[in-house]
């Protein structure tokens, strides 16, 4: 029994790692958010994505497939380029970092529209941090 305890403990811990958010889009502007969501859905390398369009900002947090994680920055850059073409004049932030996905998802779940801009600015500044 004592032998199996650590294994059970580790498995219980690992069970918490499975996060399946799917695709979430929240759009509070008059822009078409569906085309951006389609871009994310059509990319086979992306398995989860959270998209928030508010005011003059667009934030997308991506989760790529396990073996595509090696090029996650390139994937995020590609998607960002597409979004910049789609929404000229908007401040676009696309990142495959799990923090962006986590924070954006939290922001959407809270439904706190008053603080969207402030929080979105913060998430964008986090992405720019190097160290």
């Amino acid at each position: 029994m004592r032998k199996w305890l650590p294994l059970v403990f580790v498995l219980c811990l690992l069970a918490g790692c499975s996060t399946d958010i799917g695709y979430k889009t929240v759009n509070t502007t008059s822009e078409d958010g569906q085309q951006a969501e389609n871009v994310l859905k059509d990319d086979p390398r992306i398995k989860n994505a959270v998209l928030l369009i508010h005011d003059d900002r667009l934030i997308a947090g991506l989760r790529v497939n396990t073996f595509d994680r090696f090029n996650k920055r390139e994937i995020a850059k590609e998607v960002e380029k597409k979004f910049r073409k789609m929404y000229p004049g908007m401040k676009v932030t696309v990142s495959a970092d799990s923090k962006v996905l986590l924070e954006t998802n939290k922001l959407i779940d809270k439904k706190d529209t008053e603080h969207y801009t402030k929080k979105m600015k913060k998430i964008s500044s986090l992405v720019k941090e190097e160290t």
């Binding site: 580790v10 970092d97 799990s98 923090k99 962006v100 986590l102 986090l126 992405v127 190097e130 160290t131």
Partner: protein, 151 residues
């Protein structure tokens, strides 16, 4: 008994080193240390303003701190006896090397004992770590300048 005979006898008696078993142990325990570090990184990402990219610094610091504590309490030694290279290769091995050398030379005083011998083992890690980082950065800089890869 001549030298050859002695050598033969020694080879017969000496137990064989279980390389495969040692490799497996090192692989499992080294992986376990990395798993713990991954959870610490997740903790920093979830509860503090760290991204995947920036969370590595506090994670490394925490892992070194934990290994130093465990070395001080004598737990890391027992763990290392089982794990072998699995406990020496990750960053925790660095913390262990610093503290164990400091504890060993504590009797010689703080300055000449602890201060002088603390980095006896870890010094080479720092030296070659810095040198290899410089070499890798140099190669990458050249490749970026040539346009082969991007930052």
């Amino acid at each position: 008994m001549d030298e050859k005979k002695y050598q033969q006898l020694e080879q017969q008696i000496t137990p064989k080193t279980p390389y495969l078993k040692n490799c497996l142990k090192a692989f499992i325990t080294g992986g376990f240390i990395c798993l713990v570090a991954q959870f610490i990184a997740l903790f920093y990402i979830t509860f503090f303003n760290f991204t995947e990219r920036t969370a590595s610094n506090p994670t490394v610091a925490t892992m070194i701190f934990l290994s130093m504590l465990l070395t001080g309490f004598g737990i890391y030694k027992k763990f290392a006896q089982f794990a072998g290279a699995g406990s020496a290769v990750p960053i925790t091995g660095f913390g262990n090397a610093v503290v164990s050398a400091a504890i060993e030379h504590r009797t010689e005083g703080y300055v000449l004992g602890v201060g002088g011998n603390m980095f006896k083992l870890a010094g080479s890690v720092i030296l070659f770590g810095v040198f290899s980082a410089f070499a890798v950065a140099l190669i990458k800089s050249i490749l970026v300048a040539l346009g082969v890869v991007s930052w």
